[in-house]
Amino acid sequence: MKQWRFEISSKKGFPDIHGGDVLEDIRQLNISSVEDVVSEKVFLIEADFGQDFAERVGRELLADTVCQDWHLGKSSVPAGPMQASLVEVHLKSGVTDPVAESVKSALADMGAQQVSSVRTGRKYVLLGNVSEDELQTIARRILANDCIEDVIYGMDTDPPSPHTQPYQMEVTEIPICDLSDKQLVELSKKMDMFLNLKEMRTIQEEYKKLDREPTDVELETLAQTWSEHCVHKTLKSSVDMDHDGEKVYFDNLIKETVFKATKDLNKDWCISVFEDNAGVVEFDDEHAVCFKVETHNHPSALDPYGGAATGIGGVIRDPMGTGMGAKPVANTDIFCFARPDMKLEDVPKGVLHPRRIMKGVVAGVRDYGNRMGIPTVNGALYFDDRYLANPLVFCGNVGLIPREKCFKNAQAGNLIVVVGGRTGRDGIHGATFSSGEMTHEHEDIFSHAVQIGNAITEKKMLDTLLQTRDANLYESITDCGAGGLSSAVGEMGEQLGVEVDLEKVPLKYDGLSYTEIWISEAQERMVIAVKPENLDAIMEVFDAEDVEATVIGTFTGDKKLTLRYKGTQVGQLDMGFLHEGICKYDRVAKWETKKLSEPVLEPKDNFNDDLLKILGSYNVASKEWVIRQYDHEVQGGSVIKPLMGTENDGPMDAAVIRPKYDHDKGVALSCGMNPCYGDIDPYWMALAGIDEAVRNLVCVGADPERIAILDNYCWGDCTRPETLGALVRASQACYDGAMAFGTPFISGKDSLNNEFVCDDGTRITIPYTLLISAMGIVGDVNQCVTMDAKQPGNLIFAVGLTKNELGGSHYYKVNNELGANVPKMDIETSVEISHRVAKAIQQGIVRSCHDCSEGGLAVALAEMAFAGGLGIEVDLRGLAVSADCIKADMMLFSESNSRYLVEIQPENFDAFAKLMLNLPFGQIGEVIENKKLLIHDAQQKKVIDADLETLKQAWQKPLAW
C-alpha cells in the first residue's frame, strides 16, 4: 500500500493563527532569533487509492480551499533570505489520534475501500537564525510533549512506523512466597506497584496459604485495587493524634468525621451516598441529581492538555456510571497553579512552566467539556507557588437521573459487556502512579500513564447508553476509570464473581499482553451487565450509532475473579481477598498550634492602593479569560451564568441551571477553598470552605435546607505525623461544619502525596488544600438573585459580624504577611444568618446579594459596583463589628466568615430589618449614580475613593491574555 502525505497550510493573505500563537509563546521564552513561524497540518494516509483520488482527498476533504492550500508529498524548505528550520511533531505510536479516526470514516464516505492507517502531525517552519539549542528548547517547551509525541527535525527523517508487533502469549508467574522483606519491597518497586511492605506481606501470606505463586496479572490486579487512589487507605486508617499534647484516637478517620456527619444528619433526601460513583440526592418527584468531583493532578503535571481533558472525561463517566446511569448536565472545574509569570529559571527540572500548564489544562477541559455538550458553569482558580510541580486539577460533574434508576442490580448469568472506546497501551499504571510522589524522573518513567481522550467516542457512547437505559436493556453499569477493567469489572463483580476472556476486549492495535489489556486505563469505556436475552436488542442500539460494544465475560456467582486469555486461565483471585484482604493501617498524627503573631503595618489614611493590589492579585482577579473558553450555556438550562451584570463581566457567586425544560426547579453549584488559612490552622480553613460554599449558594437563592457537599482533599505525604495531623484537623472541621449547616457530605475523594523531589533533593509540598463543592436546590429559578448592584438609591446592608480577622487574608498577602488571626466562626450564628438571608431572597425583597470573602468587604463592594455599572457610597459606622475590630483596614479587608452584602429597595427597609432582627447586621451605604466606590471610616475620612473603571481594570488586567 502506498503512503500519501498531505500538507495543509494557510493561504497567502489568511492568518496562520496557530503559528502566531507559537511565535508568541517563543517570545515568552525570551528567544528573539525566531522572526516568524509557519504552521502546517500533516496527514499520512496508507491506502490503495491512486493519484487522482489522492488529489480529491486534498481538495475536498483535508483543505478548506477558501483559505488553505494543500500539497501532496513533502514540501521543500521555503526559499528566501531567512534561514528556515523544520520541526515536525507526531504522536507516539499507540497514542490515541481522534482526528485520524474521523478522517478514516470520511474517506469511507468518499468511497475509499482500503485504508490501512491514517496519522496526523504538525509541521513548523521557524524563520530566523535559530541555534540548535534554541530549536531544541522550543520543540521541548512549546511544540511537543515528550510524553506522547515524537519530534522530527529537518527534512530527511520520516515518522516512525505505526505498526506494532503481535503479542506472543506467555503466562508469567512471579515468585513471592520465599522472598525476604527486602526483596518484597524491591519487587513492589520494580513492578511500579506502590505497595508497602505490610501489603506485600499480606499478599505473600495469602499465596503461602494457597500454596502457589501469583501470576503477573494477579499481582497487578491487587496493586490496582489496593492503591491509595482506589481505596483511600490513609483516610480509612486508625489514627493516634497528639493535639497540643492531648491524645485523640480515631479507629477509622473518615468514618468518624466526614461519613459520620452524613450518618448523623440522616437526611431523607439523600438517596445514595459514598456508595456509588457519585452521591445521589432528590431533585423532584421524578428525578434525582448526582454529583462527583475528582482530581487528575499527576497526569496534568506531565501532560496538562491530555491530563485535564481525561480528567473531565473521566468525571463525566462517574454520573454516567451512577445507579443505572445519569445524564450529565453540568461541569465544574477548579485549578491550582503556581504564578503564571514565574521566571523560567525558577522552574525545576522535570517540571513544566506554570503558564504552559495553565494554558494546557484550560484547553484540555475546554476541548473535552465543550465537545461533550455539557455546560461548564462553575469553577475557581487558585495560585500559590507551592503548586509549581504539583498543579491541582479538580473536575466535577452533575447528572440528572430518574428516581427509579438510582440503583444497580447485576445478577449471576448476566453478560459483561464493554462499551465505547478500544483498549490500548495508554494509561497503564495510572492508579498506582497517582498514588505516589513525583520526582524529576517521572516524566520519563511514567509517560505511559498519560492518557489521551476522544470526547466524541464518549459522546456517542452517552447518547446510546441513555437510550438503552430507558429501554431497560441492562442491569448494571460502571465506568472504567483508574485501574481500567481490573477495577470496573472487579468492583462490579465483587458480590457475584466474574469470568473474563481477555482476548475478546477490542484493541486499538496489536501487541498488548493480557495484563496490559486488564489494567489499561484507555479512556471512554464503560462496563455494563446484560441479560443474555437482551443482548441482541442492546447491540442493535449501539450498532445503529456506530458505538462498539463487546461481550467479554460473565457474572458467575462463585465469588471469584477468573481471568482467561485464549482459553488458558491466567489468573484467579478470591473476591473476598481482593476487596477485603487489604491490611488496616495504624498511623500517628501530630498537631501543634502554631505560634504566630499579627504584623504591625504602617498606619495610613487611604487604602486605594491596597484595594487595587488585591483586585489585581491572581487569586481575586477576573477569570474571564478562562470562563469564556467554556461553553456555559449548552443544553439551554442556564439561569445564573458565571459572568453577568451590565457588561456581562461581573463574577457571580454560584451557578444555577434549570435542568428540565418543563420545570422551574433549579440546581445551584458553588465551591469554597482557602489554602491560605491552612497555613495558620486547617481546622478553620475547612470550616471557612464549608461556610463559603454554602454562602455562595444562599446568595443566588438556593434553599439552605437542601444543600449537599463534597470533599476533595489534596495533601502531601501523610506518613509525616504533622501532615496527617493537619488532615485530621480539617476532617474534624468537616464534621462540625456539616453538622451545623445540615449539609451532608455525599461523595468525596482524596489525592495524597502531592509532593515533588527536585534533582537537587529539594522537596516541594503543596499547601493543605481542601475543596468543598456544594450543590443546592432552587425551588423556583425565577426567584434567583445576582450580585450586581441594580439601582441608584437602593440601600446596601452588611449581614454578619466583621471581626479582627486578617490572618491569611489577601490584604496581608499583598503586604507579604501571614498574620495569626485566621477567620473563625460562631457556628450557630453563621447558620442562622444563612437561613435568614435565604428567607429574604425567597420573599423577593433582595435586589442583589454578594458573598463577602476573599479580599473582604472592600473587594465585595467593588465587585458589586462595577458589575452593576453603578457606584456605592459606604459609611463604615453602619458596619456590625466585634469590639476589637477598630481599625479601618480590619473593617475593609478582614475576611471574617458568614457575611453577606445585600441590596434592598428603600421601601423594603422595614421588612428586611425585621427579618434580620437580633443578628449582627447594619445598613452601610447606598447605591449611587456616580461611578465610584466611596468608603468613609468611623471618623468620616475617605479611606477608599476610587473610580469604578480603575477598579475594574485592575481586576481584569492580570489574566486578560
Binding site: 474521523s102 464516505d109 445503529a544 473558553q629 439561569v639 456581562n648 442583589s848
Partner: protein
C-alpha cells in the same frame, strides 16, 4: 397547514439537538430528533417534514475542520434528497456547527444555485476566530436582508455565541461584494446601538461583521449564534436587572417565523 413537522438531525458529536427540539416545540412544531444514519438508510423520511435543522455541536469532533466531516457525509449520501427538499420550498436552518456544515456543503450561500450541494466549489467559509480560541459571549445581531423567512427584517436581537471557528471569509473580494449586494447576509454582529465594530462586538473577525447567511430563496439560513439558547427570559444575561421580565426571548423569533411560514405556505 397546521401539522408542522421538523427534523433535528443528530450525528456523532452533535450536542444541541435537545434544546433545539424544545425551541421548535415551543414554536408549535412537531419535532423528531433523527440520527443521520437513519436518514441515509431511508432518505424519504425527509419528505414528511417541512423544516430540517442542522443543530450545534462538534460533529465528528470538528476534526479536520469544523463541520467538515459531516458535510462530506451529507454531500456523499444526501445531496439529491436535500436538493429536492429545498426545491420543494421547505426550510433548512443551521445553527453554529450546523451553519458550518451548511456552508461547507454549499447550501448557504448557495452561490452556484440554491440547494446544490458540492465539496469542490466552495467560495465562502467559516474558519478560526481571530482571537484564536473558543468564545462563549452574547452578541447583538442586526438583520441584513428582508428576503430571509427566519428573521424579522426590522428587529435587532441579542443571542449567545459559543464557537472557535466562526469567522466568515470569502475567497475573493468579488464574492464578498456579491453576498453583500445580493442580500445573502442574514445577520451582522453589531453593538447595542446597531453599529458594527471590532472585537468583541464582532467576536470572531468575520468579514463585513457577518454572523449569518441565507441563500437566494431566503428559505435556508445558517447562523453562528444560538437562538435555541434564548427561548426563555431567565436565559438573558441581564434578566435579574430587567423590569419587564416575562414574555420575551429573542431566539424564539427564528423558530416562530419558520413555523409560521410553513403554516402559511403548506
Amino acid at each position: 397547514m397546521d401539522n408542522v413537522k421538523a427534523i433535528v438531525l443528530r450525528a456523532a458529536g452533535i450536542n444541541c439537538d435537545m434544546e433545539t427540539e424544545h425551541a421548535l416545540q415551543l414554536a408549535g412544531s412537531q419535532v423528531e430528533r433523527v440520527h443521520i444514519n437513519r436518514v441515509i438508510e431511508n432518505p424519504s423520511m425527509l419528505e414528511g417534514c417541512q423544516i430540517l435543522v442542522f443543530p450545534g455541536g462538534f460533529s465528528y469532533g470538528d476534526d479536520v475542520a469544523a463541520g467538515k466531516v459531516l458535510a462530506n457525509q451529507v454531500v456523499h449520501h444526501l445531496s439529491d434528497i436535500l436538493h429536492k427538499f429545498v426545491e420543494d420550498g421547505k426550510l433548512v436552518l443551521g445553527i453554529c456547527n450546523g451553519f458550518q456544515v451548511m456552508i461547507k456543503t454549499g447550501i448557504v450561500p448557495g452561490l452556484n444555485g440554491y440547494g446544490k450541494l458540492s465539496l469542490t466549489d466552495q467560495r465562502v467559509t467559516l474558519t478560526d476566530n481571530d482571537c484564536g480560541k473558543f468564545e462563549d459571549r452574547w452578541v447583538y445581531l442586526k438583520p441584513g436582508t428582508d428576503r430571509c423567512v427566519f428573521i424579522n427584517p426590522d428587529q435587532q436581537i441579542y443571542l449567545p455565541i459559543a464557537h472557535g471557528e466562526g469567522k466568515i471569509v470569502c475567497d475573493t473580494d468579488q464574492t464578498l461584494e456579491t453576498i453583500k449586494k445580493d442580500g445573502y447576509v442574514a445577520f451582522r454582529y453589531v453593538d447595542a446601538d446597531g453599529n458594527e465594530g471590532g472585537f468583541p462586538i464582532n467576536p470572531n473577525g468575520s468579514q463585513d461583521s457577518i454572523a449569518a447567511l441565507t441563500d437566494s430563496t431566503g428559505r435556508a439560513m445558517g447562523l453562528m449564534p444560538h437562538p435555541e439558547r434564548f427561548v426563555r427570559w431567565t436565559q438573558h444575561p441581564h434578566w435579574t436587572r430587567l423590569k419587564e421580565r416575562q414574555g420575551f426571548a429573542d431566539g424564539m423569533t427564528i423558530f416562530t417565523n419558520a413555523v409560521d411560514y410553513v403554516k402559511r405556505n403548506f
